[in-house]
């Protein structure tokens, strides 16, 4: 994408800015739609209506919320550590924003075709951890500190099963680049990794159950990484009020929310790329069929976003179904269940790939 804009505009700076702005728009849109969707999904699952007043079926509710957030007084407690307190939401938001740099929305719309894409995605999430710790500590509130501690330990722990599953997929595909991974799972859904990948043969059918296990593991652990129910103990409102952002209000609070919903879409995108063909269409391209090839990237964007939102929907579905785990159960789930399963899965996928 950078190359395209560079050739179009002839200016490095402009091209960089535009390339950087695309993920930002994505994050904002993800948050805007995500909050609305969350409200509507939760409402209808609970036999309610949800927002109905702002626009048709409350479609502008998030916009109204956003305006309210902007207008809110930025109340800062006198006892907080002001420097870190102000920096923390920025850091958290940067973390989730930066993740979008490597997510391929289509073969053309991608921030950077970095070769280490998936690795970068895992690494950059540690920035969020630092931001959360910073928020929790600087708030000078016991609930915040406990929430931050829980959150940090949770994210770090669940990075391990995520990384192992990612590793098995890296082993299978032989690349770290998210774009290449998507390309390998060519159009039509039977070529997706969850169904054994594009190569047809005996190994394809052997792989399917292990791919499904891998998918379940990475879905659970990414759920934990974005602090969603049943793993929302860092912000468990019945225990810790709101966890690490108890003391925040107005726009700073909105930034935490923004990054949460941005992260939700990012991890859904990751799952999509690893197992569900990324931006590839499940049924072949309409543009190919009628010979209009410039249409393909647009179709790809549509498919990627549709798949991403589907997994976000499942996250919400889970949230409004399940109770939350306790902190030690969360850890035992990670260390005693997910990691062993992930390891076994890694070894089996490795062996099958070698064969």
């Amino acid at each position: 994408m950078y190359q395209y804009f560079y050739e179009l505009l002839g200016s490095e700076i402009l091209a960089t800015l535009i390339t950087a702005a695309v993920p930002l728009v994505n994050v904002l849109l993800a948050a805007l739609i995500g909050v609305y969707l969350e409200r509507k999904v939760s409402a209808h699952m609970q036999d309610r209506l949800g927002p109905m007043r702002t626009g048709w079926h409350g479609i502008f509710q998030t916009v109204a919320d956003f305006i309210k957030m902007l207008q809110k007084e930025d109340a800062v407690s006198t006892e907080v550590d002001k420097k870190l307190y102000n920096l923390a939401p920025v850091l958290v938001f940067t973390g989730s924003f930066a993740a979008y740099a490597v997510i391929p929305f289509s073969s053309k719309v991608i921030g950077t075709e970095a070769e280490v894409g998936i690795f970068y995605l895992l690494a950059i999430s540690s920035l969020v951890v630092a931001g959360i710790l910073m928020a929790g500590w600087s708030s000078n509130n016991k609930y915040s500190l406990l929430g931050a501690m829980r959150s940090a330990s949770q994210i770090i722990s669940y990075e391990i099963p995520t990384a192992i599953v990612v590793l098995s997929m890296v082993m299978y595909t032989g690349t770290l680049s998210l774009d290449k991974m998507s390309q390998m799972q060519t159009a039509y859904f039977w070529n997706w990794n969850i169904l054994g990948g594009a190569e047809f043969g005996f190994a394809k059918f052997l792989l399917i159950p292990f791919m499904i296990v891998g998918f379940i593991i990475i879905y659970i652990s990414t759920l934990a990484e974005v602090n969603r129910t049943p793993f929302d103990i860092p912000e468990a409102e019945s225990e810790l009020v709101a966890g690490y952002f108890t003391e925040y209000c107005g726009m700073k609070w909105a930034m935490f929310m923004l990054s949460e919903y941005g992260n939700m879409f990012a991890v859904s995108g990751l799952v999509t790329i690893l197992f569900f063909g990324g931006y590839q269409s499940p049924l072949g391209y309409f543009g190919d069929a009628i010979g209009v090839h410039w249409m393909i990237p647009f179709e790809q964007v549509f498919w990627f976003i549709a798949k991403g939102w589907f997994f976000v929907f499942v996250q919400m579905w889970l949230r409004w179904t399940l109770p939350r785990l306790r902190v030690d159960q969360l850890m035992s789930l990670c260390w005693k269940y997910l990691i062993p399963y992930a390891f076994v899965n890694l070894i089996i996928i490795g062996i099958i790939t070698l064969l």
């Binding site: 970068y120 690494a123 770290l176």
Partner: protein, 165 residues
């Protein structure tokens, strides 16, 4: 100035300023968080040098692991925050001599080395090469390090268990 140069100086500035804060800050939490930016600056410079893998490893290991560990330690011992850390200058003269010699040596190395310069080098991904090297030439060291880490892990777990009983 070239665009890349601007970015380079930005990262350099971030690294140096935050490193300075790490050393001079009297608040240990500030030091800890400044370290975050130091690591990031260094990672940025790695990227500019074309070693993207190392950069990501830098972030993953240092920021995601070591820094968080440090912060955890600091936060859990809550009294440590209030302790005034002694960062005032003492023994100025010996320190100045030592640092001066080191600085001179480094400068001399920088000036007198015949740097290879390859203009227009397109950054290539280094991941494959690193992987191959690790499993062929440096396999022994790699395995030994893995063993060492495992031993450390088991040791830590043992000590922690004994503490509880």
């Amino acid at each position: 100035m070239d665009f890349y140069n601007i970015i380079f100086f930005l990262f350099a500035l971030i690294t140096i300023v935050s490193a300075f804060i790490v050393v001079t800050s009297r608040n240990i939490i500030y030091s800890g968080f400044s370290l975050l930016f130091t690591f990031f600056g260094v990672a940025g410079i790695y990227v500019l040098l074309g070693s993207d893998f190392i950069a990501v490893v830098q972030i993953m290991v240092y920021v995601g692991g070591i820094l968080i560990l440090i912060l955890f330690g600091v936060m859990l011992t809550n009294k440590i925050v209030d302790v005034e850390i002694r960062t005032g200058a003492s023994h100025m003269l010996p320190a100045a001599i030592g640092v001066g010699i080191l600085f001179g040596a480094l400068t001399a190395v920088m000036v007198f080395t015949g740097w290879k310069s390859e203009p227009g080098l397109v950054p290539q991904t280094t991941t494959v090469d690193i992987g191959k090297l690790l499993i062929t030439d440096y396999v022994l060291i790699f395995e030994l390090l893995a063993m060492l880490l495992l031993v450390a892990l088991i040791g830590a777990a043992t000590i922690a268990r004994r503490e509880k009983e």
